[in-house]
């Protein structure tokens, strides 16, 4: 029965399946309301000069100014800095934590006592479950100056001097803060991939007398190609677009856009401005850039992920 391999469009005409559409309708409505319409709106707003001073929710009353916001964006002296900040942040967090760290944690927990492994994985899940506000509070205190900072207190006890963690080493901690949350996603996927590796293969390699490292190198990793790719791509986008923790932790500072990332800029410009007068139009231009990057990457991933195999034909037909 290998009729499920082909996913080509069928030639026989299909009647509209009202049941299926009924099942999908609620989600479709929400998607239109909160993805499609906003995506179109944000593109339009990015071509207006909407700001607090001429704020209106009536699309018709916004002043269309064409691509002016994009011109401003591309000549913004800090756009370049923010762009590379984002690249740096995504690359480092991704490689050291969301993928690399996740893989290490998954491998380590797979090679110890089953219950202990489960326990450690559960612990690693905690940061993702914590409220960002409390989680960040914890980190703010961690890196604070003496006498409040936890790390500085430990450094003091160990005989090292005071370190300005929250200013001079802030990137390290921005990455840590996000990376520690980020590990769990990859960890879970890698773990289930490792566990699904057939016991026979593992036993066979054990009989062959391979060491743990050899087993990882020759048995586990080659079988992990797919999950690795998946986590890599999915987490790239997550990191690219999430900014809540940075907002709460450094709010892009403390120096000149020191830890500002692109998505945060969109937020800052439009929805958070210390002196009032938020620039909605300009902020939207930042958002649009991300939206475009997101869609392009997502389509790219669809190709990588062999989308065709994903859409195996349903084995019940609509009569």
């Amino acid at each position: 029965m290998n009729m499920n391999t082909s996913a080509r469009a069928r030639t026989a005409p299909t009647r509209p399946n009202l049941t299926a559409y009924a099942f999908l309708a609620p989600v479709a409505i929400l998607v239109v309301l909160f993805f499609i319409i906003p995506a179109l709106l944000v593109i339009y707003i990015s071509m207006t000069d909407l700001a607090t001073a001429n704020f209106t929710s009536d699309v018709g009353q916004m002043t269309f100014i064409g691509l002016k916001n994009y011109e401003t964006l591309f000549s913004d002296p800090y756009a370049r800095k923010i762009f590379f900040n984002t690249v740096f942040y995504v690359l480092v967090t991704l490689s050291l934590f969301n993928v690399g760290g996740a893989l290490v944690v998954a491998l380590l927990t797979a090679h110890i006592n089953r219950r202990a492994g489960f326990f450690f994985r559960a612990l690693w899940l905690l940061p993702r479950l914590m409220t960002s506000t409390v989680y960040i509070l914890m980190w703010e205190r961690m890196v604070a100056d003496p006498p409040y900072g936890i790390l500085n207190q430990l450094f003091g006890v160990a005989g090292y001097g005071t370190v300005a963690f929250n200013t001079n080493h802030i990137w390290t901690f921005v990455i840590l803060v996000n990376g520690i949350i980020g590990i769990s996603f990859g960890m879970i996927i890698f773990t289930s991939a490792i566990e699904s590796i057939s016991k026979d293969i593992m036993n066979a390699s054990l009989v062959d007398g391979s060491t743990a490292m050899q087993r990882i190198r020759y048995v586990i990793l080659p079988l992990m190609r797919w999950p690795l790719l998946f986590v890599l791509s999915y987490q790239t986008l997550s990191l690219l677009t999430s900014y809540e923790e940075i907002l709460l932790f450094t709010n892009g500072g403390p120096g000149v856009y020191q830890t500002e990332v692109w998505a945060l800029t969109a937020f800052h410009r439009a929805l958070s401005n210390y002196f009032g007068n938020a620039q909605w139009g300009y902020g939207s231009a930042f958002a649009v850039v991300l939206v475009i990057v997101g869609i392009v990457l997502a389509i790219l991933y669809l190709r990588i992920f062999r989308f065709r195999e994903l859409v195996s034909e349903p084995k019940i037909e609509n009569l």
Binding site: M1, M3, T5, R10, A12, E313, N318, L319
Partner: protein, 359 residues
């Protein structure tokens, strides 16, 4: 309920799963669909069930064309290979489910489930969950669920293949007896020829989506229309040799690289009329062992089957299955003579695989 299938075709994209199948099933008849996996028999069954929609052709239940009738309006019962019991319901819940869907009153549900369960011998299991049942019990529950709504047609999708050999034998007999008693038109999909041969009134042999033959078990066995049927029906499998038939001294001889053997029968003569190069089929039970035979071969392997021994006899490069009684005590390496019953031979056109004896 009689079923009529006309020019039934099913395509999945470019792949044709079922091609132009036509057959009719009489009211109360037990029909088996037989074929190797991937031959389209299950697809055909699922089209009968209303799970798949035919790409072409028609399916008629009684007078009604049901091509586009959803499963719940077909009044069929079906037993799956995996049993497909609902794990979150009790046995009672499983059997009663079709009745519940028909809005049968609670009291009636109770009564009908009880009746079916008693028939199936699972009356004491009604409170259990499927996970607590043995394979055979699950099978009975599945059958009970299919029967409880008194379907017009019963569909079986390899229902016995997950059971152990002994249980399979019992269930085979039970299903057959039950079907005869209730007189429900049944379609039974299997790749096990023994099941098909022992249970079915008629067998539809399918191969690569096509209907190879549709006949009674005896007819299929004795008059295989194609090499595929001959090969597929019968255990041990029929011996096939590519031979050249020739007239020698007024006698027909079959000649191949390994041997030459004189043959004489009506069938042989009919075959000769068709051509000289043919595929000759000899069933193992039509070979008798004896010392004064025209053919001698060497026993290559002996496979004791209990009641008899199956021999793999080699003549040159050709290999034949033959049967011997255990008392004959054949051993590998023994040289024996082979007697071929020329009246039981089958001949096929090697190019088309079609029988030259039967249409």
């Amino acid at each position: 309920m009689q079923v009529d299938i006309q020019n039934l075709t099913k395509k999945f994209g470019d792949v044709t799963a079922v091609a132009d199948v036509s057959l009719d099933i009489r009211d109360g008849e037990f029909v088996a669909f037989l074929g190797p996996s991937g031959c389209g028999k299950t697809t055909t069954l699922l089209m009968l069930a209303g799970i798949y929609k035919p790409t072409d052709g028609t399916i008629t239940f009684g007078e009604r064309i049901v091509n586009l009738v959803p499963p719940r309006e077909r009044n069929i019962g079906m037993v799956f290979q995996s049993y497909a019991l609902y794990p979150h319901m009790t046995v009672f819940g499983n059997i009663a489910y079709p009745l519940k869907l028909k809005n049968v009153s609670r009291a009636d549900q109770q009564e009908r489930v009880k009746r079916v369960a008693d028939v199936m011998g699972i009356g004491e299991l009604l409170d259990r969950k499927p996970a607590q049942l043995s394979g055979g019990q699950q099978q009975r529950v599945a059958l009970g669920r299919a029967l409880v709504k008194e379907p017009d047609i019963l569909l079986f999708d390899e229902p016995l293949s997950n059971l152990d050999a002994r249980l399979r034998l019992t269930m085979r007999a039970e299903i057959k007896a039950l079907q005869k008693r209730l007189g429900i038109t049944s379609v039974y999909v299997t790749h096990d020829q023994v099941e098909a041969l022992t249970m079915a009134d008629r067998i539809a042999v399918m191969n690569k989506g096509r209907l190879e033959a549709y006949a009674t078990p005896e007819d299929l066995y004795d008059h295989p229309r194609t090499t595929f049927i001959a090969n597929f029906v019968g255990n041990p499998p029929i011996n096939m040799v590519d031979v050249e038939l020739a007239q020698e001294n007024g006698q027909v001889v079959a000649r191949c690289a390994a041997f030459t053997v004189p043959l004489d029968s009506e069938r042989v003569r009919k075959a000769v009329a068709h051509g000289r190069k043919l595929t000759m089929g000899i069933r193992a039970e039509d070979i008798t062992l004896g010392d004064d035979a025209a053919l001698t071969g060497e026993v290559y392997a002996v496979e004791p089957l209990g009641r008899e021994d199956m021999l793999d006899v080699r003549i040159g490069a050709e290999s034949f299955f033959a049967l011997a009684t255990p008392q004959q005590r054949m051993r590998a390496g023994d040289r024996i003579g082979l007697h071929i019953d020329a009246e039981r031979l089958q001949f096929f056109d090697p190019a088309t695989g079609k029988s030259v004896l039967w249409e």
